[in-house]
């Protein structure tokens, strides 16, 4: 039984984020396998995977910013409208002022920053709850989009479309695969092995209890397996398709923001503000500044997401970005963030977003209509959070923990006693 306990502690119940990530990836794999069987192998076909990434990269980009907003204890309902507003502004600017497309992108990011500064000002310095500020923003910028575009569709030039519908180009010897995608996959594999080894070395330097070797190896084998599989799928698609450019933008953002939230003082401050604002303030954290930048950053990412969407659909329209805020918020909560702030990870939110994306995609492949897809997605969100809240109250870990436990009834529960006079109830989190 001690091995099983080790596994639970280090894979699903551990405190290091490596372990949490692994637990979430496990959930994702389970969903993939389920749909792979239900759709007779359609889910993991190259063209479907590529489409899946292209269709969802902008939601995942929003989820990154939304995670930070939610961790800081706020919410942002305006991201869909900001995306639409930025899209029409950029499309118009390129059409009427003949802005070259790279300048167009910078122009769009600047619009996002300005809108973000506006909303951040109200939230941080006036003290209006973000729910209200962004509800106002949602109306404001949706109206702005339709005012400027006259509720019409405005096309964007060819060059601009690369960020939404472009792929890694074909270069080098003919291997039957897309070479650049293969290189990208190789880099990811090296990074994963390097990270695991570095994590072990760090724990050794700390004189902390080491994670059992076999768990490290198991973790690496599974992660590397997933990466190799996905890489080959992306590299072997229809000629001219490969890993999408929007996926590369997303990957870069995920890496950068994960690093920022985990390893820098600025990132720590966001968690501190969400966990206990007054304590953070008395520790020297500049509360207003953190809130301002978190809201501003969200709008910049919303602007980027809007541009990627416009680039993919080749034109900006009045209904762009409808309902995106809810998809992004759902991704963050399925990915384990606490409703009350202070808890959550970027990687968790990405996995949460992928779970939603796969559900959408898998159900569509099975021919389920959008009406029923929405019903199912709603139930999944509720169940995922509900099951986790329930498990937390039982002093158990989370979804996966409870699934494995039902197979091993004699296993003692994870040793997280909820007893004692001085203990606080744990904050409610989801899936990890």
């Amino acid at each position: 039984m001690s091995r099983l306990k080790d596994l639970q502690k280090n894979l699903f119940g551990g405190t290091t984020s490596n372990a949490r990530q692994f637990g979430m990836i496990f959930t994702l794999v389970a969903i993939v396998v389920l749909f792979q069987i239900l759709t007779d192998g359609l889910t993991l076909r190259s063209d479907n995977l590529i489409a899946l990434f292209q269709q969802n990269s902008y939601i995942l980009i929003l989820a990154i910013g939304m995670l930070m907003v939610i961790v800081a204890g706020h919410i942002d309902l305006s991201v869909g409208s900001i995306a639409a507003f930025t899209g029409i502004m950029v499309a118009k600017a390129m059409a009427e002022w003949n802005l070259p497309w790279p300048v167009g992108i910078l122009f769009g990011l600047a619009i996002g920053a300005l809108i973000g500064a506006w909303q951040g000002f109200w939230v941080a310095y006036i003290g209006v709850p973000a729910f209200i500020v962004t509800l106002a923003g949602m109306l404001l910028f949706r109206g702005g989009n339709q005012f400027i575009g006259n509720a019409n569709t405005v096309p964007v030039p060819e060059g601009f479309r690369v960020i939404g519908s472009g792929f890694l180009p074909e270069t080098g010897p003919d291997t039957g695969y897309n070479n650049l995608t293969l290189l990208l996959g190789l880099a990811a594999v090296i990074a994963i092995v390097w990270r695991e080894l570095k994590g072990r070395r760090t724990r050794k330097e700390m004189n902390a209890e080491p994670i059992p070797m076999w768990i490290s190896i198991l973790r690496m084998v599974v992660m590397v397996g997933v990466i190799v599989f996905v890489t080959l799928r992306f590299a072997s698609g229809r000629v001219g398709t490969s890993f999408p450019v929007s996926g590369i933008i997303l990957a870069a953002l995920v890496l950068a923001y994960s690093f920022y939230t985990r390893n820098t003082a600025g990132g720590r401050h966001i968690y501190a503000v969400g966990g206990n604002p007054r304590a953070a303030e008395l520790s020297g954290v500049k509360l207003k500044r953190v809130n301002f930048y978190v809201m501003m950053n969200m709008s910049v990412l919303a602007a980027l997401a809007g541009m990627i969407f416009v680039a993919r659909s080749a034109a900006s329209g009045p209904q762009d970005g409808n309902g995106w805020e809810l998809d992004a918020i759902a991704a963050v909560f399925i990915g384990g963030a606490a409703v009350t702030g202070g808890i959550g990870t970027i990687s968790g939110s990405i996995v949460g977003g992928l779970v939603m994306a796969l559900l959408n995609n898998g159900l569509q492949l099975m021919g389920v209509g959008t009406d029923r897809v929405q019903i199912i997605k709603g139930l999944v969100l509720l169940l995922a959070v509900g099951l986790d809240v329930y498990n937390k109250r039982q002093g158990r870990f989370s979804i996966i923990g409870s699934i494995t436990r039902s197979f091993h009834r004699d296993t003692p529960a994870v040793p997280t006693p909820s007893s004692g006079a001085e203990r606080e109830p744990a904050k409610t989190t989801v899936a990890g």
Binding site: T264, A265, A272, A280, G284, E422, R423
Partner: protein
Amino acid sequence: MSDVPILLEMRSITKEFPGVKALSDVNLVVRAGEVHAIVGENGAGKSTLMKVLSGVYPYGSYDGDIVYRGEVSRFGDIRASERAGIVIIHQELALIPHMSITENIFLGNEPRKNGAIDWKAANRQALELMARVGLREDPDTLIKDIGVGKQQLVEIAKAFAKNVKLLILDEPTAALNEDDSQHLLDLLRGFRERGITSIIISHKLNEIEAIADRITIIRDGHTIETLDVKGDGVDEDRIVRGMVGRELHSRFPDHEPKIGEVFFEVRDWTVRHPISAERLVAKHSNFVVRRGEIVGFAGLMGAGRTELAMSVFGRSYGVYESGTIYKDGKEIVLKTVADAIANGLAYVSEDRKAIGLNLLDDIKTSTTAAKLSKITHHGVIDEVEEYQAAEAYRQSLRIKTPTVDEGVNKLSGGNQQKVVLAKWMFTDPDLLILDEPTRGIDVGAKYEIYGIIQRLADQGKGVIVISSELPELIGLCDRIYTVSEGTITGEVARQDADPENLMKLMTSTKKMQTR
């Protein structure tokens, strides 16, 4: 006494949580009409025992028997135990701030007529209940508009509305001032005369000694003994010995102060209230701190000690009006908390859970939270350095935890306080302001905290201790300022300090003459 009927008997109660045995074989006998005190260090299992009794942990989740009024009781939830007349009043009051006294008293228990709430009857009954607990207020007053002491009385009135037979009070006086505490204790005496049985859990041993008929001591989940206060000649030392399992010769470690020059001085410090601008929370206050000196701030509740300290600490309270701060002879201006930290100030707040710690954090991130720059290189936090720093404090402050990866919410009050101290020691301060550093922590941990404070002073730092317990200030501090209505009203050296002269200065409103 032994012929007095037994109201409640808990027989060999054992309660296990995954990985820990919170209670093992605990016995408790409560006689009808007595005030029975339960004492023990934090984490000894007092609250768990009360949760078993009140049905929070339902029948079946523990071993042993609860015999109440001669019958074995099987409470499935709190409502079941309340129906039987057992009502528990928790330390954190369960009142709704924006509802009136009447609404709170009858919440979940509303008198009805034809299906609708009968407010006339409710108000009439509320007035009767309020009279029984000695609360004179309009029953329509909102809870948020009355003080903590009166809120406590509303809780007790609420218990009466449920026809209480056994009243359990968990740390009832922890948040109360001297007067309110006294009133509450008098009330308990009155209940005893009227035959209502009460169980009181408290850290304030002098109160227990004054009020309890019998005392049950719990340590590490075991019953140690039950003392008869009248018969056994029980005093505080006797109780402490039972609680910690050893004799504490002195409540303060021996200490030879090494006091140096004045290095910190506040002059003419005046601060306005953050909301009502005409109110001054600090009025022309002057004080100095020497290197290696432990300076006490004595004052009654609401005297403005915390407000004074926090306004000095980067203007984190109130609106600055006038005044200057000198450190090492030079004037410093501290407009933000970050300025204060950068200038070597540290403030350990009186409420560690509400404003001292982020309870979602683990020990190591809490330790470094106030000075991340110390472990940040090229913008990246060095996790190894962080771990090692936290580990060093774990050992030197003897924080009881398996690893520093543990969440701070899992620690006992005393250990949480040590983490907060570690967090501020990590900022390398020259002046530490400790606001109620031993509030709500047990005797053994207090002794350790005193030792830490003395070690900090010996390193040449200045320490200001704000405390409501005069014996603590007299035992620990080299010099004591008294604060009243936001003004320093007096200064007493250690050798001259006694509770009487301090109390006299604490209740005076005359500003101390500047030397």
